[in-house]
């Protein structure tokens, strides 16, 4: 489909047992293409906010929003797809089996990508990245092309609507 793309939803839900299972179950049960889902409590501890990324066409996305809206535990659905927002994903990249030259190169990469080197060993280095998911993808691609032993852990994006300017 031509209108297949990544779309973003912020979801306010009751902070209760089973709600995450219910929301994620909707995506698996109806074969929606879930890219990432993060969840945490808000300033009101009885409410959690999820940031959800799905790949879908327009019609399916409308259906997803309606299905979410109709859940009793869902308080509010916000479509973030075309909203100016701040969005970051935390990612750790550990590169092992490297020599001094590789390390120096990794420090330069860290500088260019604006990520922190937070730990280091004789033959390894740990990067901590707070980038957009897309930028994280680019960093992973670069690391994969240069180094053989990398391990990645990433948290999925969290997003909040901007106050003034639109940046992602």
């Amino acid at each position: 489909m031509s209108d297949m793309k990544n779309r973003w939803i912020a979801l306010y839900v009751e902070n209760q047992i089973g709600v995450l299972a219910k929301v994620s179950g909707l995506f698996s049960g109806k074969s929606y293409n879930l890219q990432s889902l993060t969840v945490g409590t808000t300033e009101d501890e009885s409410i959690s906010r999820m940031t959800i990324c799905v790949t879908s066409d327009d019609i399916t996305f409308e259906q997803i929003k309606k299905q979410l809206n109709r859940m009793v535990e869902v308080i509010k659905v916000i479509d973030l797809t075309d909203v100016p927002l701040h969005m970051k994903e935390i990612l750790y990249a550990k590169v092992t089996g490297i020599d001094a030259e590789d390390k120096a190169e990794l420090f330069r990469i860290a500088q260019v990508f604006s990520v922190d080197v937070v730990d280091i060993g004789n033959d390894s280095i740990l990067l901590e990245c707070k980038l957009t998911s897309r930028r994280n993808n680019e960093l992973i691609a670069l690391l994969k092309s240069k180094y053989r032993h990398i391990s990645i852990v990433r948290g999925g994006a969290v997003a909040i609507e901007s106050i003034s300017t639109g940046c992602r």
Partner: protein, 573 residues
């Protein structure tokens, strides 16, 4: 003063006006039964299997519009109601089901008869929840009844741990609840409805498509008035059958897979399809690209998620059917549709619904005799060929109604649902129309019917086969009757192509089956015997009667549209 959870449970049922509860005991709900035992106002029905139980509650709810209430124990008691929950979810039936659960401290330990029933039923209930503290019990029960019956109705499950039932807590049962995530639609967007109405006014070949939502919201009177005033013909889905009286001049028939030729033609040729309370299920639309290809489509539905889901519509209106029709009636004025109605009449005459009458007793004849013998009755079907014949040939007017498992298509639904309907309406005739296969799926409920004294007339159309699948094998699978012959025994060997002289006898003998329960069983082989059998059944006013109709094995349901094909491609002969 604080009271126990079990006391609050019964108090809640009383305040919700529950007069009947379908309940099967077990270890984790004995406290609740003990409390119900002391109660005078709530009638407890003891089914013989929890699947029968929940279909009985469905029949009770479907026929009365009241919330059906179920109580089962944890573990197997809970898993046995899963099919019924899915059935009620599909067909928007209000149920509140209480399942016992092991004590809070044991949850997660794989305790005896522990299952995660909330997890299992999450996608087939409107809401399901475990009560985790005694304090929230009252609010949760109130929520359950409110959620079950408002908006698009549906089943709600409350998982109730054993220790909550005995724990002390507040005696208050709230009068109403606020649920911040649940705001059922209670109004209609007048501007949007006006757009829909203008579209209807602009049509030369308008058609109203009424679904189950019309029956659920009791919009029948208003729909009839609207159709009459506008002079617009009406087709229905199976769940919508009876939306207007079936003998009304404006009623065309059911559309869909086994719909009437004229009804499907009308859908294919209309220029505005004014649909109310339908999900546009694939059994109605067939090939989506070819569905109502010439029409602008209006869709009125209380469930936003049902709109533009299967069929992309031109004017969506989120509203309860009755609410929308009330408004539409204010605007309605006569419309000239004579030419269009004539065209539909021509299609009706080209291919009327009718079976060959030269082969003995046909299902059509049985339905016609039900029409004449049980006017104003509640007709409850199981699932299969007999269900399609019932939806084709039963006449419904304002007094009568049809109860059927539409969305899930649950074999075994019919008989227990009929018991539930009769319990809700002891003064009305309740006729269960079933097949020999489906009846056997819950025939243990015969004991329930006898014990409750429910005088249901059970019509089993026996063709020795699981006919609906057999029909597909006959037409599309080279007559390879894999596992559809109910006479088949291990001695038959492989490669059977249908009945021959050496077929084993049928089991069970339904007449003797009825008699073994102390009930009346009648076998009918000729049309002439039908009325006498019905008269006999009516004499048994405090017990069920089984009438077994011996019909031809190879009778098929026509017309038929093969799954996924356009509705214009009907197999007629």
């Amino acid at each position: 003063m604080d009271i126990t959870g079990r006391k609050l449970f019964v108090k809640a049922l009383e305040e919700e006006g529950v007069d009947t509860i379908f309940a099967y005991p077990g270890g984790t709900v004995t406290d609740l039964f003990d409390e119900l035992y002391k109660n005078e106002s709530i009638h407890m029905v003891l089914p013989r299997h929890e699947q029968g139980l929940i279909h009985e509650a469905e029949g009770y709810a479907r026929s009365s519009g009241k919330v059906g209430v179920c109580l089962v124990t944890s573990g197997p008691g809970a898993t046995n109601i899963v099919t019924g929950l899915a059935d009620a979810h599909y067909d928007s039936i209000p149920l509140v089901c209480f399942t016992g659960q092991v004590p809070l401290a044991l949850i997660g330990n794989d305790a005896f008869q522990e299952v995660d029933i909330v997890g299992i039923t999450r996608s087939i209930t409107k809401y399901s929840v475990t009560v985790r503290s005694r304090e929230e019990l009252g609010r949760i029960i109130k929520m359950a009844f409110y959620i079950a019956k408002t908006g698009r109705p549906g089943p709600v499950l409350i998982d109730l741990p054993k220790d909550i039932q005995t724990a002390l807590g507040p005696s208050v049962y709230p009068e109403h609840v606020e649920i911040r995530g649940y705001k059922p639609n209670s109004s209609v967007h007048v501007g949007q409805l006006k757009r829909a109405y203008k579209l209807l006014r602009s049509a030369k070949k308008p058609l109203i498509l009424a679904g189950g939502g019309v029956n659920i919201s009791h919009a029948n009177e208003r729909l009839l008035a609207f159709a009459e005033k506008e002079n617009v013909p009406v087709v229905t889905t199976i769940m919508g059958k009876g939306a207007i009286p079936t003998k009304h001049a404006l009623y065309v028939g059911n559309c869909g897979m086994h719909g009437k030729y004229a009804a499907n033609k009308a859908v294919s040729e209309c220029d505005v399809l004014f649909s109310i309370g339908t999900r546009f299920n694939d059994r109605i639309t067939g090939d989506l690209n070819e569905f109502a290809p010439k029409a602008k489509i209006v869709h009125i539905d209380v469930d936003t998620a049902s709109i533009s889901r299967n069929v992309v519509v031109d004017v969506p209106v989120v509203s309860d059917a009755d609410l929308a029709l009330e408004k539409l009636l204010e605007w309605a004025e006569p419309k000239k549709t004579a030419a269009w109605q004539n065209q539909i009449k021509i299609w009706e005459n080209e291919n009327p619904l009718a079976m060959r009458r030269d082969r003995g007793m046909t299902p059509q004849m049985i339905m016609e005799h039900i029409n004449s013998s049980f006017p104003g009755g509640i007709y409850v079907t199981d699932v299969g060929q007999h269900q399609m014949w019932a939806t084709q040939y039963l006449e419904l007017d304002r007094g009568s109604s049809l109860i059927t498992s539409g969305g899930l298509g649950t074999m075994g639904f019919g008989f227990p649902a009929a018991i539930g309907a009769k319990l809700a309406h002891p003064d009305r005739d309740v006729v269960c129309i079933s097949g020999d296969g489906g009846f056997q799926m819950n025939m243990q409920e015969m004991a329930t019917a006898v014990a409750e004294g429910t005088a249901v007339t059970i019509c089993i159309l026996n063709n020795y086969y699981l006919g609906m699948v057999r029909q597909m094998q006959q037409l599309f699978y080279g007559k390879r009757y894999a596992s559809t012959c109910l006479r088949r025994r291990v001695s038959c060997g492989n490669g059977c192509k249908g009945p021959n002289g050496g077929c084993p006898p049928y089991v069970p003998d339904f007449v003797r089956f009825a008699e073994s329960y102390g009930a009346c069983g009648i076998r009918v082989e000729k049309e002439e015997e039908i009325d006498a059998a019905f008269e006999e059944a009516k004499k048994h006013t405090d017990a069920p009667t089984i009438i077994e109709f011996m019909i031809a094995s190879d009778e098929i349901v026509l017309p038929m549209v093969q799954g996924g094909n356009p509705m214009s491609e009907m197999i007629l002969k």
